[in-house]
């Protein structure tokens, strides 16, 4: 005897036409006489209709360019395979007198690892050039860099180089990945090499700019402030700190309320800016906000007396 439980377990296959004719007829006959199973089948069919009603998307794709890109990538892959095969067979080919044939393959591409090693020890100009070249590379190059960045076995200097190159990408998602990678080791209590590197050099202005942009929004501000604090702490009194201070001043002087609010958020989060805030006591429009910040931070009130504020914070930090 056919039970509803047995039939319900087969309704999907029935709808999908996967059953053999005998079982199919069995299900059909049961459903014809069982309202509960018929309701279940109709519900499955409605879901199927809804799923199939959702259109795909291929309108945005330029198909001929698509074919060209895939073809070019495949040709590069073929050259890559030859680079492995050729050294192995080179001796045999030489002795066979095929040296001429062996000299014809495409010029070898430079391994990414060597490029990263060069980046790690290069000056600012060369680094900037490598970053620009990486930006012009295709998706495959970016993926290779991301793979190196994420590989736990990659030597730290090479990994840092990959992080820095990706952090300079124009692609927001790639930049986000690099940003997170820079933050992750510190969050896990491991070696903070990435942040040290990121925060230590003036070429990180794009990273700082990105984090500052995120402080303008309520939902991303806490994360962005954490990143800025890390960068600032590593680069104390260095170019990264100076860059942050300069940008915060710009935010605080902006006519856009959201910018000013972001500036104050950063000021409140980065204790090292206390002395800079004292300077804002002279800036019309910022005086009240600066005073409010200083009062809350110090638990004191020296009004507009900049010298008194400076002396207080110097005493507190043990400078005097």
């Amino acid at each position: 005897m056919t039970t509803c439980t047995s039939i319900r377990g087969a309704l999907g296959e029935y709808m999908d036409r996967q059953l053999d004719p005998l079982r199919r007829e069995e299900v059909r006959a049961h459903v014809a006489g069982c309202e509960a199973c018929a309701v279940e089948l109709r519900a499955l069919e409605r879901l199927e209709q809804v799923l199939k009603s959702v259109p795909g998307d291929g309108e945005s794709v330029r198909w001929e360019a698509y074919v060209s890109r895939v073809g070019a990538a495949a040709r590069r892959a073929r050259r890559g395979a030859w680079k492995v095969i050729l050294p192995l067979g080179a001796a045999a080919l030489f002795f066979a007198g095929w040296a001429r044939w062996a000299s014809t393959p495409a010029p070898p591409e430079r391994p990414l690892s060597a490029l990263l090693d060069e980046y790690a020890s290069a000056g600012a100009a060369r680094r900037a050039q490598i970053e620009r070249d990486a930006g012009r590379g295709g998706a495959a190059d970016l993926q290779a860099l991301i793979a190196i960045m994420l590989d736990a076995h990659t030597p730290p200097p090479r990994q840092v180089a990959a992080v820095r190159i990706l952090a300079s990408s124009n692609d927001e998602r790639v930049r986000g990945l690099a940003l997170e990678q820079a933050r992750a080791p510190a969050a896990e209590g491991a070696d903070e090499w990435a942040l040290l590197e990121i925060g230590a050099e003036p070429t990180d202005d794009e990273l700082i700019e990105h984090a500052i942009e995120l402080t303008k929004r309520e939902d991303t501000a806490p994360e962005a402030l954490r990143i800025l604090r890390k960068i600032d702490r590593r680069g104390l009194n260095g170019p990264a700190h100076a860059d942050i201070v300069r940008r915060v001043r710009g935010l605080l002087a902006s006519e856009v309320e959201g910018d000013r609010r972001a500036g104050l958020r950063i000021v409140a989060a980065l204790e090292v800016l206390e002395e800079d805030v004292i300077e804002f006591l002279d800036v019309p429009g910022l005086r009240e906000a600066a005073l409010d910040f200083l009062r809350r931070r110090a638990g004191q009130d020296f009004g507009a007396d900049k010298e008194a504020w400076r002396a207080y914070f110097a005493r507190r930090s043990g400078k005097m």
């Binding site: 999907g12 879901l47 998307d57 291929g58 698509y66 495949a74 892959a77 995120l214």
Partner: protein, 183 residues
Amino acid sequence: MGDAELVLRIKQGEQGAFEDLVRLHMKEAFAFCFRLTGGRADEAEELSQDGFVAAYRNLAAFRGECAFRSWLFRILINLHRDRLRARSRWDKVLGAFRRDVESRREPVADDGGGALRARELADVVREKVRALPDRQREVLTLHVYQGLSYHDIGLVLSCSYDDVKMNLSLARKRLREALKEYV
């Protein structure tokens, strides 16, 4: 010209044959990746292109024991899984960026004929399909959108007919619950 002949010509070193093979399957590969990635066209384009290149690299291993398109689906699924694994730890940050992009989208005006509802429905369905466990999403996509039989899905995913049936059933159960407002 069929897949088998094109594959043979590629193995003989004819580059043009590979491009013909890409032309033959690119729209379906893109459509599959589009569903797999939850409706992200840029990701789908990149994933499908990488899939073709991976297929080209590994063509020597393709012995024609299943259809080329099934083999390609398997490659695409493996590539997609690799990417999901690599990305999982960055999801928090990427989520913030995505929310940013989504919050800046222009609202779509309703044309009075239900365009808004259709778009909303499409977005919701894609989101719910994307939220399914990997195996359920793969089985559902291969069957509902690519039209593969349970048997062929088993070949693509290297699993049994019963596994396919169970995962499809679980996916439908979840979607019925998640989309109850719409079905």
